[in-house]
């Protein structure tokens, strides 16, 4: 299996925020924390586009590189996760992330920055799969239930697609061929390398 990836097809996103709502509901994300959000590009200008943004689970994740306590890890499926028991809430990952994915809940009377929270690709955390402890810290582990991330599965227009990189790149490639436009995938190069989704991989390179 190739690595798990997200693609947001800006030709289809209608800025309904269904992905944001689904994520918050599925994982019972607290107030002030949005693991996913919808961003409008060129707002008010003809040809404006909207895209859904969260942690992209980068191939060479900068958050992992800068974390001073080494709380991040990558699963065999390419999902970048972190251990909240190790996180000290320093915020370095927030500065490093090109997508603004790391979120920090305010805690206590003085709004002290809590431990980092981010999209888990619905893969939970280091606690036992499907356990209550895992749910309380990271949300539901849908991958272990044989499902894909809820944001993508709930997307009404299927603008946001998630799953095996090869499979979703093939889905987008087919769309682009059918409609004859919209091959640009925002964030793909930043997260996974310079190769655009929908283009064939170089020989011998695993996507």
């Amino acid at each position: 299996m190739a690595r798990m990836k997200f693609i947001c097809d800006s030709e289809r996103c209608i800025e309904c925020n269904g992905c944001v709502t689904a994520c918050k509901n599925e994982h019972e994300v607290p107030w002030g924390v949005n693991r996913r959000r919808v961003v409008t590009l060129n707002d008010g200008v003809p040809g404006e586009r909207s895209i859904s943004v969260a942690c992209m689970h980068c191939s060479d994740a900068p958050c992992m590189a800068v974390c001073p306590v080494n709380c991040f890890y990558r699963t065999d499926e390419g999902v970048v996760l972190h251990d909240k028991d190790v996180c000290i809430g320093c915020g370095y990952c927030s500065y490093a992330c090109p997508f603004g994915a790391p979120q920090f809940p305010s805690q206590g009377t003085f709004g002290v920055r809590g431990k980092m929270d981010k999209c888990t690709f619905c893969a939970g955390g280091p606690e036992a799969n499907g356990s209550q402890a895992e749910f309380e810290k990271y949300g539901r582990n849908r991958l272990a239930e044989g499902k894909l991330p809820v944001c993508a599965e709930m997307c009404a227009t299927k603008a946001l697609i998630a799953g095996d990189g090869d499979v979703i790149a093939d889905i987008l490639r087919n769309r682009v061929l059918k409609r004859g436009k919209g091959a640009e995938v925002w964030g793909w190069g930043t997260a996974y390398g310079s190769k655009q989704a929908g283009q064939p991989a170089a020989p011998g390179v695993k996507s």
Binding site: L81, I161, G163
Partner: protein, 72 residues
């Protein structure tokens, strides 16, 4: 009195010591292939079987997200 000063000086010097600061090893996670062993799990794959889990996710990505597969 000398003994007290010695103990006090030793305690002060110990307070100046620095603990070793080494990074822990990254967390060990259980693969999602093992499943949750609970309800809500989708049928059509066997928990613990990597091949069936991968096939399930690939099939789900296709029928859930590729609407062109339902169009002539």
């Amino acid at each position: 009195m000398k003994l007290v000063w010695t103990i006090l000086a030793t305690a002060l010097l110990l307070a100046c010591g620095d603990k070793a600061q080494t990074l822990g090893t990254p967390a060990q996670d259980t693969s999602p292939v093992t499943g949750t062993g609970k309800a809500y799990t989708v049928g059509g794959w066997k928990q613990g079987d990597k091949a069936s889990w991968e096939a399930q996710l690939k099939a789900r990505a296709q029928y859930g997200q590729n609407d062109y597969s339902r169009v002539d």
